[in-house]
Subunit: 500 residues, 2 copies
């Protein structure tokens, strides 16, 4: 497939702007036609968000953006465009008028997708000169980030045109789903509209507020649906007996007033078998146990991602972890440690997603654990948010790490910390990482520098750091430094070229 | 609040097993009553999953598990239990019988929650001796991982009992949501049942298969709903004009056949205002721009989490990144680099979630980038999956990192790699990390060891690594090693105790 060079977007609101961002950030030129006086501002705001998002999301070198142009007349906007996306308001008469104008100026081969939420392609194609290349390409907000696009054709469509449209959408990172039969509101908005109407009743009847409905969604099935849909989730709920068992169990509920949607298909043997067979095709390559673990790993990853943003289920996880830490602290007692021995200030467990292709803890996670141990040490000597808020902090300026074992998933790690020395501005520390059996996994030697964060340069430490270092100094200075501390990485030179 | 010591679970299937795991893994003893002959096996399987999940999820020291016991008679199971959770099949007569037996043996203060999906608390309380402490506590599968529990009372309930139940649920990491008005199927299952019925029609009418429906969900609104619900998402879609604009725009669709749910509340001014006001209370503390960025950051985190499992929208992201890499490669050409200069084999961008509390790239992410550069170097000399599949790999055994600048978010990093030497089993390399302006951010010196992964010990390198090292050796050995290479971390000793 040759990549397209130019797309045109007719209508540049939030949805049109999302399409524009998709094309541009994937290196495709975009010409925009939108008579709205604020179109450039609105598109610019969507683009700002999209550039920010791609900078954070894409762990690969971004390509050069396509060229963006705004046009006062439709003809120049469409000139040379291989793919045209229409995103004007949801009124059929307006869509017919705009599609007629597009056909009057576009080349007969240009693909024309409509962002319509509800109209069927056959409705859009009414009166068209070349209905075979007009189709529904229904995206989801934010279009630059959400992968799905529902690609819907009618019997009048050319299959090759739809396949080419899917290729172009895939090229911009989207996930085109060919809808096999046209229907009002396609698939996604049918499901969404059912939930919306049900939710309106709940608000109307004072059963729940908008916040409560949102919380129910984002703390329960929304988490499941980010990674498995309705049927695969229920297949798991059915257990080893699978989908049929689930339908048997919850089939009777179809007749109960569990929703306002009381127009239900009869759960005949035929329908149950159809669902069971389709579910087998979809998920039968995994055992229920495998599906459970895939689901759990996905949920855990999602919680940890949300935890980084202190949001939703991620905040719940953080609060849960805080309780575990509190219990651990309560169990360990809050006594001052024995400074004449190495300090144990940090413990953790090797997470299942910390492994590399060799199957053991990946290199940088060792430094993550050592870094957390350094933070625990700094916290112990009094560096907290209050200390930092005065414009002071401690940075690591140099590290020497030695890997001594292949650390595997779920290993409970203990870090033993020794202070090797310090002066007015610097602290030199050494960490040992031990597994449950006390076997040394790795060591780290760090030089830490106290800094004035405003001036961005080294500065002398202040209380309470100075006091706490003075308190631990008599004990720690008596400990022998490990042999490898203060040693460089060895020079191994090059083999003799003649010997190769 | 004092923590509870003992809970009892009546019914130990998939849902009961999930409750059991929640309690046990949070340090609470659990007594189980379930006459099913396979109850112990089923609970054991749920517990296996839950232990695995907590080991991966909880980034804190896990507490000692509670004590698990199975009982042949209900009386001993309930003895001393402060919280009792009933999870028997969804038949009202059965639930009445079981609740009656529970009340006959439990203390009158014990809290009794029911996992019922659909029955109202007032229905469960019929004929109870102490209806005030019987309530609905409806969880979501997998109960040990999904936070939400719908806590529903009737007018007969004691508020203090419900508050105590919520505290206990929170203590196990759950997110109890007090449902303000009892209704068939509470809130979550009403929304789910509406989607289920709509989805059954789509399968029944051959509009979509189970796989296609699931893909529509997990590649579009499921991703949004893992972090914001229906109303907050639509508030953003409404743009600066907010919720009211959204309702104006999509209000007319309520009359259209977009779903089988045609029994809709009339969208009166009163209802529109109620929704607008509730949405302001819920989300009004954030501007639309802020909400967009929170949403985008959450979506990006979710995609990256799913990418680690090569699943769903995460797989789409990986494929997208692969295309960016391909374009970058195509742009850079595939020529052999100039070996008489440092090698540029890895570039990346500092992700927004790589920052620490000082606001710049956190310590271990430097090693992540250097590790990726080491992998790019190893790939360049021919270490690939085929090479590794023969039981050989290269491990980092020692690293020396120097931090020279405060690297900020979105910085485009380039890594310049020099080979400092090698012998038959080892390679010593040096990386420089540069920002867009060419300013040195950090350096890393690594000793890499070739290993026989079966035997777990050092072994001589084989082709193509040996050949490629021989090819780059003449150019690289001519490069001067940086001054700091081969230097140790300096010994700074201790300040004179008399001077303190």
């Amino acid at each position: 497939m040759t990549r397209i060079r130019k797309a045109a977007c007719v209508g540049g609101g939030v949805i049109g702007g999302g399409w524009i961002a998709r094309f541009l950030l994937n290196g495709i030129d975009v010409a925009v036609f939108d008579p709205h006086p604020e179109a450039q501002r609105i598109v610019g705001e969507v683009l700002d968000n999209a550039r920010r998002a791609y900078g954070r999301m894409i762990q690969a070198p971004l390509c050069a953006e396509g060229k963006l142009s705004f046009h006062d007349d439709l003809a120049t906007a469409l000139d040379g465009a291989e793919y045209i996306q229409e995103s004007v308001p949801e009124q059929l008469a307006l869509k017919h008028r705009v599609l007629g104008q597009i056909e009057a100026h576009a080349s007969p081969e240009a693909l024309i997708g409509s962002s319509t939420s509800g109209f069927k392609p056959s409705e859009l194609q009414e009166g068209a000169q070349h209905p075979e290349r007009i189709f529904v390409a229904h995206p989801f907000n934010p279009v630059y980030l959400v992968p799905l696009v529902e690609l819907v054709g009618s019997p009048a469509n050319d299959e090759a045109a739809l396949a080419r449209a899917a290729d172009i959408q895939r090229e911009t990172g989207m996930m085109p789903l060919r809808v096999r039969k046209e229907i009002d509101a396609h698939i996604g908005d049918r499901l969404l509209e059912a939930v919306w109407r049900e939710a309106l009743w709940l608000v109307h009847d004072d059963v729940a507020t908008t916040q409560e409905i949102d919380d129910v969604i984002r703390f329960s099935f929304g988490l499941r649906w980010a990674q498995m849909g309705l049927f695969e989730t229920y297949r798991i709920a059915g257990g080893e007996a699978g989908m049929k068992h689930f339908i048997e169990q919850f089939g009777p509920a179809l007749a109960w007033p569990w929703t306002k949607l009381m127009d239900v298909p009869e759960m005949t043997d035929e329908l149950a078998t159809k669902i069971g067979d389709q579910s087998d095709t979809q998920s039968g390559m995994h055992s229920i146990r495998e599906l459970e673990r895939i689901r759990d790993d996905n949920l855990i990853g999602i919680y940890q991602a949300l935890k980084a943003n202190d949001w939703g289920a991620g905040r719940t996880l953080r609060e849960m972890e805080d309780r575990y830490f509190e219990r651990a602290k309560a169990g360990a007692g809050a006594a001052t440690p024995d400074y004449a021995a190495p300090l144990t200030l940090h413990r953790c467990r090797v997470s299942g997603d910390w492994l590399d292709y060799n199957g053991h803890m990946t290199e940088y996670r060792y430094l993550q654990v050592f870094g957390d141990a350094t933070d625990a040490f700094l916290g112990h000597i009094g560096m907290d948010a209050a200390y930092r808020s005065a414009g002071r902090s401690v940075y690591t300026v140099e590290s020497h790490i030695r890997h001594l074992a292949e650390t595997s998933a779920n290993t409970a790690l203990t870090i033993r910390t020794t202070v090797l020395g310090h002066d007015a501005k610097r602290i030199r520390i050494h960490h040992e990482m031990l597994d449950e059996a006390g076997t040394l996994q790795a060591t780290a030697e760090h030089m830490l520098m106290h800094v004035d964060t405003q001036a961005g340069r080294a500065s002398p430490m202040a209380a309470p750091l100075t006091d706490r270092l003075a308190a631990l100094s008599p004990g720690q200075r008596g400990l022998a430094a490990p042999d490898h501390a203060g040693r460089p990485i060895r020079d191994i030179g090059w083999p003799d070229p003649g010997a190769a």
